[in-house]
């Protein structure tokens, strides 16, 4: 059937979270605490106010969280080795995690008792995991 679908006039535009941020008008940018700045250990030379230390900590937390989330993204489709409790090692192809990072959805899970095509690994059962990007 090759009938062309008549488009009814669109009634809504795609919503956006916000508009792109523009130049700050003050500096040339490339913020030292931006995404790609190397994480340096915070060694305050002068005593800082409580407020700015908290916001520094918050920024550091946010950057670390973002890096962790990106590491999960980088893992998708890769072979990952998991170390579980009691010295059990398994490997699998990483698929996805859920919102709270409570479970990992994996495929081709190699276990001591055979290969499971699809599986959910409880993160509380995982001691550590490693993969090569």
């Amino acid at each position: 059937m090759n009938a062309r679908i008549m488009q009814t006039p669109p009634t809504t535009t795609v919503p956006v979270l916000r508009l792109p941020r523009g130049p700050d008008g003050l500096s040339r940018g490339f913020a030292p605490d931006g995404r790609r700045a190397p994480l340096k250990p915070v060694v305050p030379e002068i005593p800082e106010s409580q407020e700015s230390r908290e916001s520094q900590e918050q920024r550091a937390r946010a950057t670390l969280r973002e890096r962790y989330l990106r590491s999960l993204l980088a893992m998708v489709g890769r072979q990952v080795s998991f170390t579980l409790h009691e010295g059990v090692h398994v490997t699998a192809h990483f698929g996805a995690t859920d919102l709270d990072v409570a479970n990992f959805y994996v495929s081709q899970l190699q276990t001591p008792i055979g290969v499971q095509a699809e599986a959910l690994l409880r993160c509380s059962d995982i001691v550590s995991y490693t993969f090569k990007p």
Binding site: T8, T13, L19, P20
Partner: protein, 349 residues
């Protein structure tokens, strides 16, 4: 129900945007650089259009700009007779490469070790970025100013376009392998490594050639003079823009015009797909860059799909990839401030 495209306008430039380029996909996402006649090329986060920084130093219009694959370096070509190499993380200028005329185009090799430049002096130059003091290798042959020069075939060959010709050169021997002649001015050129495809625009034509043999593959005609076109990474679509201020989207296989968008207030000078194909960016005489969704209505970057059962406002914060950490904080902050307002009633004596 069809949704209408919401382009995201990136402001900041004060003069026409004449060139733009995306980086590859890096662990920090991908990036976008824009060249502007105001002499101040800007770096932006590729999926949101957020400004990151401005490369300050050129003393004339910047005609060409590019990023290396991992967006650690940027290169710019300017009317001040120089090409500059920049640290794209800090914004610092790393090298100034003097030329004898306006420089129009710059391109890094895959390993970022060499920079190709071309411009009004009609020479292609290859700089070894590990030996900035050494003289560049020069390739002559063009008889009019070079508009675009690109590495191709894994940096073993070079493609260059002047006003009426596109030439293919062998890097090792620095000699011309083949050339194409046009009777209309070539306005743009794009090289697609996967599949070795060359996209050339001239007049109203958008032409596709093999980058290896320069043999024609196919071509389409647009309703107006086209200044730039880009092929989607999966080669399903192409987008093109030009003198009528509109952006056109075509099906690459059938040549059917799928969509056209108004939005810019001046001719479009450059258009490129992002490396993941999810959006395309256009730069215009009106001084703005606009980001457009490839699939209208999809949740990506700053565009948020709203399903029929959701209310207009984001009632519950939805944390979805690839939101930035800052957006997560903004959503959490607004949630926090709401609860504080409602739980601490003011007591007046």
């Amino acid at each position: 129900m069809a949704m209408r495209q919401t382009p995201l306008t990136c402001s900041g430039h004060t003069r026409p945007v004449v060139d733009l380029a995306f980086s590859g996909i890096t662990p920090y996402g991908y990036f976008l650089i824009s060249a502007c006649k105001d002499g101040k090329p800007m770096l932006r986060q590729g999926d949101t259009g957020d400004w990151i920084g401005t490369f300050l130093g050129h003393k004339g219009a910047v005609w060409g700009a590019t990023l290396n694959k991992d967006a650690t370096k940027a290169a710019t070509a300017a009317a001040d007779f120089t090409a500059k190499v920049w640290d794209a993380v800090s914004g610092d200028e790393l090298m100034t490469l003097a030329h004898k005329h306006i420089v129009k185009t710059v391109d890094f090799t895959q390993d970022s070790n060499y920079l190709l430049t071309g411009g009004q002096d009609k020479l292609l130059r290859i700089y070894d970025l590990n030996k900035p003091e050494a003289d560049p290798k020069e390739i002559s042959g063009h008889t009019s100013g070079i508009k675009k020069a690109l590495w191709c075939s894994e940096d073993k060959q070079i493609l260059s376009a002047d006003d009426k010709t596109v030439r293919l050169w062998d890097h090792a021997t620095m000699t011309e392998v083949k050339s194409l002649n046009f009777n209309m001015s070539v306005s743009s050129m794009e090289y697609i490594p996967e599949g070795e495809i060359l996209v050339i625009t001239y007049g109203r034509s958008i032409a596709f050639h093999s980058a290896v043999s320069l043999d024609p593959i196919k071509s389409f005609e647009a309703p107006a003079t086209i200044n730039s076109a880009s092929l989607h990474p999966e080669k399903e679509f192409l987008v093109a823009g030009g003198e009528d201020f509109k952006l056109y989207k075509y099906d690459y296989n059938s040549g059917e015009e799928l969509e056209s968008y108004k939005g810019h207030f001046g001719p479009i000078h450059c258009v490129r797909f992002s490396p993941d194909g999810e959006l395309y960016a256009s730069g215009s005489e009106d001084g703005t860059l606009r980001l457009w969704q490839t699939v209208v209505g999809k949740t990506y970057g700053l565009w948020k799909c709203v399903l029929p059962e959701d209310s207009g406002d984001l009632a519950k914060p939805k944390i979805s990839f690839p939101e930035t950490a800052e957006e997560e904080l903004e959503e959490i902050a607004s949630e926090n401030s709401d609860s504080i307002d409602s739980s601490t009633p003011e007591v007046k004596a």
